[in-house]
């Protein structure tokens, strides 16, 4: 069967080949590479010549001073980001949907997308600028609180600034998909709701929200599946030793251990721990959603 198809359609298989090779080399080979997590990896020996150490790297990590702090930081940063960053675009889309002027709506949309396209390097630079001791936001808040110290270097403010600026950057873009889902809501449902005496709030709650619920659930599952990756690059650009107590997350720790201290085996173990945890969260979120909302990713 397959041989026959192969003979007839070999060009198709040839066309598919580069992509398959790409994923095999750059996604699956590193997955095999996680074996390093169980080795005391030496650059000279490579993965085939380094001594095996079992779960030593993992145990070292679990017993290290940093373990509790990293778990706490990663979870809290992700959790706040989810708690505030997930509903914000939904609310924004609902409010946008209530705007009457088409042109105004389009202008608002175009402007609020914009921050999405700014690179994370520039975002981090602007954040450091605005929250520095003489920064615009520091001065603005300073006029209320009376203190003008470098906010981004202060551990107490790190999470707030991180999550707040994430919302700022992704509010408009993340609302796009909800706007699209809102456009698909059946007009007759609104008319029926109006006949039943529903006002605008009533319509939004009883018609709009249920109609876009499956989109919301799918995006929530996807988001949970990526929860622990945080915005690794942004943390890396923003954090400093003075804020490590709240800003150091599993991925930045992996980066420092691996690429700055060349502790490859240990760093891989920590990274693997993060990947597995992430994956388990995705699976559980999907399973829970399947049970309660009948919407699921797979």
């Amino acid at each position: 069967m397959i041989r026959k198809d192969f003979r007839k359609n070999w060009v198709i298989y040839l066309i598919a080949l580069p992509v398959i090779v790409f994923f095999a080399v750059f996604a699956y080979a590193p997955m095999v590479g996680v074996l390093m997590a169980f080795q005391s990896y030496q650059i000279k020996g490579g993965i085939f010549g380094s001594p095996w150490v079992g779960f030593k790297n993992f145990l070292d990590f679990f017993n290290s001073y940093y373990f509790g702090r990293l778990i706490k930081n990663t979870f809290l940063l992700s959790f706040y980001d989810l708690l505030l960053g997930f509903p914000a675009p939904i609310l924004f889309a609902l409010l946008m949907n209530e705007l009457r002027g088409v042109k105004y709506k389009r202008v608002v949309q175009t402007i609020t997308y914009m921050p999405y396209f700014i690179s994370v390097v520039v975002i981090a630079g602007i954040i450091k600028d605005f929250f520095s001791s003489s920064g615009a936001v520091t001065l603005l808040l300073g006029s209320i609180t009376g203190s003008t110290s470098n906010m981004i270097g202060d551990a107490a403010n790190f999470r707030g600034i991180f999550v707040g600026t994430n919302i700022w950057q992704f509010l408009g873009f993340n609302s796009v998909i909800y706007m699209a889902a809102l456009a698909g809501v059946d007009q007759e449902l609104y008319d029926a709701a109006a006949l039943d005496g529903a006002g605008r709030l009533g319509k939004a709650i009883h018609v709009t929200l249920p109609c876009i619920m499956s989109t919301i659930v799918i995006l929530l599952i996807l988001r949970i599946g990526n929860l622990l990756t945080v915005s690794f690059e942004k943390v890396l650009l923003l954090y400093a030793p003075s804020t490590y107590s709240v800003s150091d997350v599993i991925m930045t720790f992996t980066y420092r251990k691996g690429l700055q201290e060349f502790n490859y085996g240990y760093s891989t173990a920590v990274g693997l721990f993060n990947s597995v945890l992430n994956f388990l969260m995705l699976i559980s979120a999907n399973a829970i959603s399947k049970k309660f909302t009948e919407t699921s990713l797979f």
Binding site: V11, V19, I20, A29, K105, I111, T112, V121, G172, M179
Partner: protein, 311 residues
């Protein structure tokens, strides 16, 4: 614009029917004001940077707070950055990475998506799983780093282009779009004796132009903004992309706040100009993307819709 207006006007039609009660009208006023405030909040930091970049450097240095208009006028900063070899080199490198990266990425993605969009492909589902799984699980930073260096790409421009060439997400968007094209078109072409390559090139791709535009843009923006792979794989400064140079300028700016050390890699020494140069580089690195995105906005909307709802 038409794709975008479609749903905008649909939702608007139902609003205009009833102007509603007093409460409803108060809400409208509040809503319009809130949206204006949010838009301003999105715009203000960007305007601040643009205004700062054309301000008089001496006045800029002593200014505090957000800029609502330029402080005087000077294009000194832009003169400096376009005279600066490091920054100019970074700019050219970025353009090179974007052009070659987008070409490679789009070609591979379209080829893979075309093959995977065929419903009678053997192991088609298995291959899709093979691709999708990579979105949710990965080997982590170090194994990836080791694979790329083992392939001899350390300190090579290839390291920025090849290892990130195909995004599973874009592949799925593309495949979904190609699946929408009716099979009958391809079948009749096959009957007429056209080969798969001809069909792909002549029939399928022209029908998927909008989606191809979307993935070209996704790839271009992400390559333009990329800095992390360069920071771990590239040692030779002559190969640095603009974003990485920008990052160094920021780090030096932070350092100079503390120590007032004036040694730096871009060779721009006076503190007066440092701030100006920072803002000018931000503008130069960001403006191309910001300038283009409104024109492609409708494609982005479309791409996100296809990718997330159907995919």
């Amino acid at each position: 614009m038409s794709n975008n207006t479609e749903y905008l006007s649909a939702s608007n039609a139902r609003k205009s029917k009833s102007k509603g009660s007093l409460g409803s009208r108060i809400f409208d006023v509040f809503n319009v004001a809130l949206m204006a405030a949010i838009s301003y909040a999105c715009l203000a930091p960007v305007l601040h940077v643009v205004f700062a970049s054309i301000s008089d450097p001496v006045r800029l240095l002593s200014h505090q707070g957000i800029l609502l208009k330029p402080l005087g006028f000077s294009i000194e900063g832009y003169k400096i950055i376009f005279d600066n070899d490091t920054i100019l080199m970074g700019y050219l490198n970025t353009i090179f990475y974007v052009v070659t990266g987008v070409l490679l990425s789009t070609t591979l993605t379209v080829m893979g998506a075309y093959a995977l969009s065929r419903k009678n492909l053997f192991w088609g589902n298995a291959i899709m799983f093979f691709v999708t799984f990579t979105m949710f699980f990965n080997g982590g930073l170090i194994p990836f780093y080791i694979v790329v260096t083992a392939l001899g790409m350390y300190d090579s421009r290839l390291a920025l282009i090849v290892p990130s060439a195909v995004s599973a997400f874009n592949l799925i968007i593309m495949r979904t779009a190609l699946r929408e094209i009716p099979d009958s078109l391809e079948e009749s072409a096959l009957m007429d004796g056209a080969g798969h390559l001809t069909i792909m090139w002549r029939i399928v791709l022209p029908l998927a132009k909008a989606t191809i535009a979307v993935i070209v843009l996704f790839y271009a923006v992400s390559m333009w903004n990329s800095w992390f792979p360069a920071s771990i794989f590239i040692r030779d400064r002559a190969k640095y992309p603009l974003q990485l140079i920008l990052k160094e300028i920021f780090v030096q700016n932070d350092a100079s706040h503390v120590s007032h050390s004036s040694s730096d890699t871009t060779g721009i020494n006076t503190d007066v100009f440092k701030m100006l140069v920072k803002y000018c580089t931000i503008v130069a690195a960001t403006l191309p993307v910001l300038f283009f995105y409104p024109f492609f906005q409708k494609y982005f909307v479309k791409g996100v819709m296809i990718g997330s709802i159907k995919g």
